[in-house]
């Protein structure tokens, strides 16, 4: 167990080191400076602008930037929808899988476009290799690049003085894809493959096992997708079991590598932000708030999972860690990861908007499952998805300085920009989308038969499955309490709506805020300025996040995981569902 905690520490340390590099690298890339990759990739970048008719020097205002983002998102969504529908007639389909049905294809296209990667299907038995590559892996790059571009636009809004433009969406997307996402993903994919991740275009391999049973071993272009799945905080796996599948995540080393990939850009953007505004401590302040909440969530989940399930007889089954076993709550967890490093992965993937899992969240202990759910509900800002985490965090930072301003009775400022009523309204509007998109459809789903048909598990846990689903889709996370049967017309549609609200409707007030901020003059720091690079600010920011999240979601959490925890430790299992054997 000591070694597991050490493993977590080593993994976080490696994530910080990678983020430090990535943060500075992205700063150079977005400021148009040369990097070590330019000799090779700069001609490619120029070629792309030539083919597509993009003017590299042209900059857009907030409306132009958002407009370009929405155009590309809708077009790429249509492209993926078509590929999924037509995959039966397209190449690279060795299993001869038929076209994906309309509702599922639509849900999946929205899901990957919005960086959610919610999956109402099992990849290995639904998607052809072309669909996995051109339909889905493509979006894992594009939606990540989109998120990062939006964050960079918000950074420019804060850093520029009296300007009107926020950059060029197309240029930002091309640059981050070429200089950051593809090189890092390629390097990581090589390590994954060397460790046992598969990467081929062969049909599945039938084998006869040692005991003479027929077994099918899946194949496919997995490792390339796995790398960008984590790096772009996407989370949609090639296989149904996601990063628990040994071909996606074969060893303890790859498990930690994938966590590093998940965290490096969200953490790194905080560094980029600090450097860009000329005070790295401003970046550290946001980073500190992210890290404190994430590590607390991990620690709590790890403790709960290692403690195990009190309902399992201790005379029949040993859940106690020893020199020869990891112990803990092992249902849904891989032997090679154990409970603590499984919790490390799942909290990193829910604290970011990744939603990859290396263990079954649905089978976590009640409070062990509450931690990842709350990390999503806090708004996907600890550290959040690539890009979306940073701009979400800046929204909360503005609310925090507003609260501080109320306390001392002064006009709040953030990085020298006066925060006025209009800005606070935009920030509040963005935050309000979370409860609207999570709690309202959850409430509807427990009331209507189509919604009630979803959960697998009985009792309070069934409610948690629904609550988790709408939290996950709104937060563009994509992980699930996977017992929920989401592949119905009802859930496909409602969950797709939540994904769209959580991604694109959230972005509009944020970008309006950016458009407002970029025009403002910078006022000099005075004696009344509340310093936003101090530990006091970090504490205030964490307080704001927790209070907003807790006030919004505590009543719902009380009906789900908290009730289940009380029942379980009181010796009460849920009642048998006559219709469901689990």
């Amino acid at each position: 167990m000591t070694l597991d905690i050490l493993a977590a520490a080593v993994t976080y340390a490696a994530a910080f080191a990678a983020a430090w590099w990535a943060g500075h690298h992205m700063l150079r890339v977005f400021q148009g400076e040369r990097t070590f990759l330019h000799p090779v990739l700069r001609p490619v970048e120029r070629g792309i602008y030539r083919i597509t008719g993009i003017d590299e020097e042209h900059e857009q205002g907030w409306k132009g930037y958002v407009g370009a983002m929405l155009l590309v998102s809708v077009l790429s969504l249509l492209l993926t929808y078509l590929i999924l529908r037509l995959q039966g007639a397209l190449p690279l389909n060795p299993e001869n899988l038929p076209g994906v049905p309309p509702a599922l294809a639509f849900n999946t296209a929205v899901s990957f476009t919005s960086n959610t990667n919610w999956q109402n299907y099992a990849g290995e038995t639904t998607m052809s290799y072309l669909s996995q590559m051109l339909g889905l892996t493509f979006h894992q790059f594009l939606s990540a690049a989109t998120g990062i571009a939006l964050a960079v636009a918000v950074i420019r809004a804060v850093a520029r003085r009296s300007a009107t433009t926020l950059g060029n969406f197309y240029v930002d997307v091309v640059r981050v894809t070429l200089y950051v996402l593809i090189p890092v993903a390629a390097a990581a994919a090589v390590i994954l493959i060397a460790s046992g991740g598969i990467q081929n275009l062969s049909a599945a391999t039938p084998v006869t096992t040692l005991e003479g049973v027929r077994q099918i071993i899946s194949q496919g272009p997995v490792a390339a997708m796995e790398a960008i799945k984590e790096l772009g905080t996407n989370g949609g796996g090639f296989f149904n079991a996601n990063s628990a599948h040994p071909f996606e995540n074969p060893t303890g080393l790859t498990n930690s590598l994938e966590i590093v990939l998940i965290l490096m850009i969200p953490f790194g953007l905080a560094i980029t932000f600090g450097r860009w505004v000329g005070n790295i401590k401003q970046g550290f302040a946001l980073l500190a708030a992210m890290v404190v909440i994430l590590v607390a969530g991990f620690g709590f989940a790890a403790w709960q999972e290692q403690t195990g399930n009190p309902a399992i007889s201790s005379t029949e089954v040993s859940q106690v860690a020893s020199a020869t076993q990891a112990g803990g709550n092992m249902e849904g967890k891989e032997a090679r990861f154990g409970p603590i490093q499984s919790a490390l992965f799942n909290t990193a993937a829910t604290g970011t908007s990744t939603g990859a899992v290396d263990s079954a969240s649905d089978s976590y202990t009640p409070l062990g499952g509450l931690a990842p759910m709350l990390l999503i509900q806090l708004g996907e800002i600890t550290p959040g998805g690539v890009g979306s985490g940073l701009y979400g965090m800046i929204v909360f930072a503005i609310v925090a300085v507003f609260l501080a301003g109320l306390m001392v009775g002064r006009t709040p400022e953030y990085l020298g920009k006066k925060i006025e009523a209009r800005d606070v309204k935009f920030a509040a509007l963005a935050i309000l989308i979370l409860p609207v998109s999570i709690l309202v459809p959850t409430a509807i789903s427990v009331l209507v038969p189509a919604g009630q048909a979803g959960p697998l598990n009985p009792g309070a846990h069934g409610f948690s499955e629904i609550l988790y689903a709408f939290s996950s889709t709104t937060g563009n996370n994509g992980s699930a309490f996977a017992g929920l049967s989401g592949n119905s017309l009802y859930y496909n549609s409602l969950l797709a709506l939540s994904m769209w609200l959580g991604r694109f409707i959230f972005v509009i007030p944020v970008m309006a805020l950016a458009g407002s901020l970029v025009r403002k003059k910078v006022v000099p720091i005075g004696p009344g300025t509340f310093p936003t690079d101090s530990p006091l600010f970090v504490a205030l920011l964490i307080g704001t996040i927790i209070i907003v999240g807790a006030l919004t979601f505590f009543p719902a959490l009380a009906l789900g995981p908290i009730l289940e925890q009380l029942q379980l430790h009181g010796g009460h299992l849920a009642a048998f569902y006559p219709s469901q054997g689990g």
């Binding site: 493993a7 792309i48 597509t52 409306k63 407009g67 370009a68 077009l75 790429s76 492209l79 099992a122 290995e124 038995t125 590559m133 892996t137 594009l142 894809t177 593809i182 390629a186 493959i193 060397a194 046992g196 991740g197 990467q199 081929n200 391999t205 084998v207 006869t208 005991e211 049973v213 071993i217 899946s218 194949q219 079991a241 040994p246 071909f247 074969p250 303890g252 080393l253 309902a311 399992i312 007889s313 029949e316 089954v317 040993s318 859940q319 076993q325 709550n329 249902e331 849904g332 967890k333 891989e334 032997a335 649905d362 089978s363 202990t365 996977a482 289940e564 379980l568 849920a574 689990g582």
Partner: protein, 289 residues
């Protein structure tokens, strides 16, 4: 902006297609090329071949070690074994383990359709009057990775864990062995006949051996879970347990870089070594024999 709408749309369409080609075709195909040249073994599934070249599995995918041709007859495991009361049919179909091999982790995944590959028929699904029967998908079907998703508070999960633990105890896993030698196979096939009584003195079974993972084909178990089975395998094969203990200890894979992940035993590799060292066992008699 509206004036430029057609031009904007044309730019957006071209950039979408260029990025799709770059990220969705060039990148994965180049990675496939690199993988096939540099790491062909890993990139194609870490397949294990026999000396004659036949593929018998993958070192990363678990196999099930159940009695051959036995699955069809179905094994209605009785509950509650653990409390020692009279056997009752619970309607759970378990597959009979082959006690001559180390077992991997079970799967508590429910299947709602027949699985012809292992002989699970539609009739099996409706055994015992239909509604009560909850067949568990066999963990051999590795083309579809899926966990049970059962909640810790779900009574089905608890019942399955307790029942399977009692079953393994009866077969001599972490237990004072009640049955020995060739009879073990028969006991495994019909636990309701042999295992109904009060459990003999036992120690708790390592949790990973009685829970399923998220794929239903975890290739690994903990060292404790392998050691717990030494008595069962030794008894079924007529071997000295001490030699098997040494074999298990020699097959523990440590943590990556000494710290990442958990130490584990790869069950297929262990069983292959078992056959190499002590010889492959003869086929078992057919079910009911």
């Amino acid at each position: 902006m509206l004036r430029n709408a057609p031009r904007e749309l044309w730019v957006a369409l071209r950039i979408t297609l260029v990025l799709a080609a770059l990220c969705g075709l060039v990148y994965p195909l180049v990675m496939t090329g690199i993988a096939q040249v540099a790491f062909p073994g890993q990139a194609n599934g870490s397949l294990i071949r026999t000396s004659s070249g036949t593929v018998i599995g993958s070192s990363l995918v678990g196999e099930c070690f159940y009695q051959p041709n036995a699955q069809r007859s179905g094994y209605l495991l009785t509950t509650p074994l653990a409390t020692g009361t009279a056997p009752q049919r619970s309607g759970e179909v378990f597959f009979a383990v082959d006690p001559r091999y180390f077992q991997g982790r079970p799967s508590y995944l429910q299947t709602t359709s027949a699985v012809p590959a292992v002989g699970l028929t539609a009739q099996d699904l409706h055994r015992d009057g239909g509604a009560a029967v909850v067949p568990l998908a066999p963990p051999c079907e590795s083309n579809s990775s899926q966990g049970s998703n059962l909640a810790p508070s779900n009574p089905y999960l608890i019942q399955r864990i307790d029942t399977y633990a009692a079953y393994l105890h009866c077969l001599g896993v972490d237990s004072t062995v009640p049955f020995r030698g060739s009879r073990l196979a028969a006991v495994a096939r019909d636990p309701s006949r042999y295992c109904g009584g009060a459990a003999s003195a036992t120690t708790p079974i390592p949790v990973d051996l009685v829970t399923g993972d998220f794929t239903s084909f975890d290739p690994d178990i903990s060292q404790a879970a392998a050691l717990a089975q030494v008595d069962m395998v030794a008894s079924a094969r007529g071997l000295d347990p001490a030699r098997l203990t040494r074999l298990v200890d020699a097959h523990v894979t440590g943590r990556s870089l000494g710290v990442l992940g958990e130490p584990y035993v790869d069950v297929l590799q262990l069983n292959l070594a078992l056959n190499r060292t002590f010889g492959a066992p003869a086929p078992l008699p057919p079910p009911g024999g």
